[in-house]
Symmetry: C2
Subunit: 245 residues, 2 copies
Amino acid sequence: MAVRTRQPLTQRKVLAAGVALADADGLAAVTMRGLAGKLGVEAMSLYHHLPGKDALLDGLVETVVGEIGAEVATLEPAADWREDVRRRCLAARTVMLRHPWAPGLIGSRSAVPPAAYLHFETILATMVRGGLSYHLGHRALHALGSMALGFVQEVFSPDPTEGGVDPELAEEQLAEMASLVPHLAAMAEAELHGLDDPTLGWCDSQAEFEFTLDLLLGGLERARADEARTATAQGRARRSSGARR
Amino acid sequence: MAVRTRQPLTQRKVLAAGVALADADGLAAVTMRGLAGKLGVEAMSLYHHLPGKDALLDGLVETVVGEIGAEVATLEPAADWREDVRRRCLAARTVMLRHPWAPGLIGSRSAVPPAAYLHFETILATMVRGGLSYHLGHRALHALGSMALGFVQEVFSPDPTEGGVDPELAEEQLAEMASLVPHLAAMAEAELHGLDDPTLGWCDSQAEFEFTLDLLLGGLERARADEARTATAQGRARRSSGARR
DNA sequence: ACCTGAACACCGTTCAAGT
DNA sequence: ACCTGAACACCGTTCAAGT
């Protein structure tokens, strides 16, 4: 299955093959030897295009974050800053859904992918244009956190029982949960019964993502309005008292 | 430096040594051979107390999450549900600050640490007692996400230049940033000038954490009030129209 | 029961050598 | 310049053997 090309290898081709390999077989399958094999080449050849494994992983992150740029470029601008930021985050999310290994990799790396700075920049610019101060914009970037890159730190893991819930197994687990964690069990049951198609699983992660996003944006908009009101009130007070500097 | 004990090894001791080793030398230093060496034993001895490396890593997570339970147990209950949840998240955060490798490890594992369920349970119970429906409680757990375990997905990485910012280097970086990402640069500068002690770094991660937390909690409280108002209005409408079921 | 030593199949990486 | 083969120091893990 090795792709044999007579064209010489390039860093781009190595990284593209790395992303494809991670998509297909998971990040653990991306070894120097394994990736080289996919490219019809020996492991040591990769060192002519990348300094080592660490650079390869950084390159994979950079490639994926770069895809966000392409995705965001297709967006139409929105009048409201919140709608604009919302669309950017959702665009990033569509990219991450194509590369489910990427959030974990990004989280485990210490360095910020350089391409991410450009993405944050456009988001901050949108917010400043929308009336947020740089201080609030700073806090907003922290608050949005990884959502700007299209993922949340999933505490409830991506379902290992992919593609559906075994109703019988779910029943068993519910029974077991009921005694240990009654509120969680009640919640799970309440949510299960409200679903049209229980085989899809009872956590609609897309809906959760959007709910959280709207929650944060709503809160930031209120903070923004407060800030504007306070500034106006202070300005009025300063003017009416005739204070100078 | 190997700790030689004549007492036989136990799983608890192995895990405690693993946590200590990760605290001291990082997660990468936790290898079967390395950990065994710290315990004054051969690598293969560990297999008598743990099935393998994967179980070791799961055990490390479980140990750390277990510490959250101990920390939460010292809390005094708060009247307001938001204050209560807030204290629980901050307690979890103090545990994670002791084990900076833990969030990355938790994020990279697919399974939810069993001890975390108990933690989520008490948080959900607090919220339900505070008036949230199970549905909203479900969404709240998702929204709080990893904050319930005391960390956020840090996009701006934990500062590698630990313990302060070199002002000269910072100036250089600012100059470089200014052309590429002007809004970010302006923000960084605005934040730097407002600081009492710039050597502490210009991102107060504790303040950011609390701001984000309060933002989410404030939004959830509004959603809670909306939900309560809607339910009351629906009830009133149903009663006044004499509708039954 | 608990621990050991040798061995196996992998990994990232160095180095000298090929064309 | 790009690629190779052998080798090195590691890793998790199996197995047969010790007490």
